[in-house]
């Protein structure tokens, strides 16, 4: 598994962005974060793990509880703030284009596969 996760990949996911929003002004436990989502607890844990791995979140031991808070320093390292948002849409539209090219008449993927 790739341990050094891409920050932009991490924040391209809507659930992870929602998690970042939740912990932006206060630190929260994994349980408190999970209670805001319908998603199964292990799924939220996985998201927290990814966000922690790319250092957008930091863990803080607070008695017996672990609190998550946002790593402002890491956030500031990300220079162009609109780029990930743009990239998310660009990736989505690239996929749309690739999918639809199969439906082009003539020398399309669909046409080729039919000929084979």
């Amino acid at each position: 598994m790739n341990l050094r996760r891409d920050v932009f990949q991490a924040i391209a996911d809507p659930t992870r962005r929602a998690i970042l929003l939740l912990v932006a002004t206060q630190s929260l436990t994994a349980g408190a974060i999970a209670s805001n989502f319908d998603t199964a607890r292990p799924t939220v844990s996985k998201h927290l793990q990814i966000l922690t791995e790319c250092e957008l979140l930091e863990q803080e031991q607070n008695g017996r509880e672990i609190h998550y808070h946002i790593n402002a320093k890491k956030m500031k390292e990300v220079a162009d703030f609109i780029e990930p948002f743009r990239k998310m849409w660009d990736d989505r539209f690239n996929k749309l284009e690739a999918v639809m090219k199969k439906y082009l008449p003539g020398s399309t993927a669909t046409g080729k596969s039919k000929n084979k």
Partner: protein, 159 residues
């Protein structure tokens, strides 16, 4: 290479515009939004409902690898004009984000190329900036006030 997808977001406005030119005829671009089976392929979501008509509804959901639902989105379709436009609302279920209004315009450039212009209107300037800049330092500061409201709701106080 020139970036195909462009984001236009003016300071202080509660909307943003996404434009993209496709190497696809207009009809195929529109078809990508019209047929559930195709939407599923490029959005990576399951289409629970897609009623392409005035007052129709739509609902998509995404799952993780194990089949757990990660996110469910829904909205109402206000206008549906084939090869021209779709006007709809968009809401992410179980998130603090208010519903947004989306205007999608489809245009022919040449016989083989087309353009999509997507205008998204948010409830407030603050919400737009959150959605746009959320992961970044600037976004964190601007979102602060609204976050206080969101986080003071009872659901967020349970620790």
């Amino acid at each position: 290479m020139e970036r195909k997808t462009k984001i236009h977001a003016e300071d202080g406005k509660q909307e943003l515009v996404i434009t993209r030119e496709f190497d696809l005829p207009l009809e195929l671009l529109f078809k990508a939004y019209e047929e559930s089976e195709i939407v599923e392929q490029w959005m990576g979501t399951k289409v629970l409902k897609l009623e392409n008509k005035r007052h129709g509804g739509w609902q998509f959901e995404t799952s993780d690898g194990k089949g757990n639902v990660v996110l469910r989105m829904n909205g109402v379709i206000h206008e549906f004009v084939p090869d021209q436009k779709i006007t709809r609302t968009f809401e992410m279920e179980n998130t603090p984000f208010a519903v947004q209004l989306e205007f999608l315009e489809f245009e022919k450039i040449t016989d083989d190329t087309s353009k999509l212009t997507m205008q998204i209107v948010y409830k407030s300037v603050e919400l737009r900036d959150q959605m746009l800049k959320l992961p970044f330092a600037q976004g964190i500061n601007m979102a602060h006030n609204r976050l206080q409201e969101v986080l003071s709701k009872p659901a967020y106080r349970n620790r």
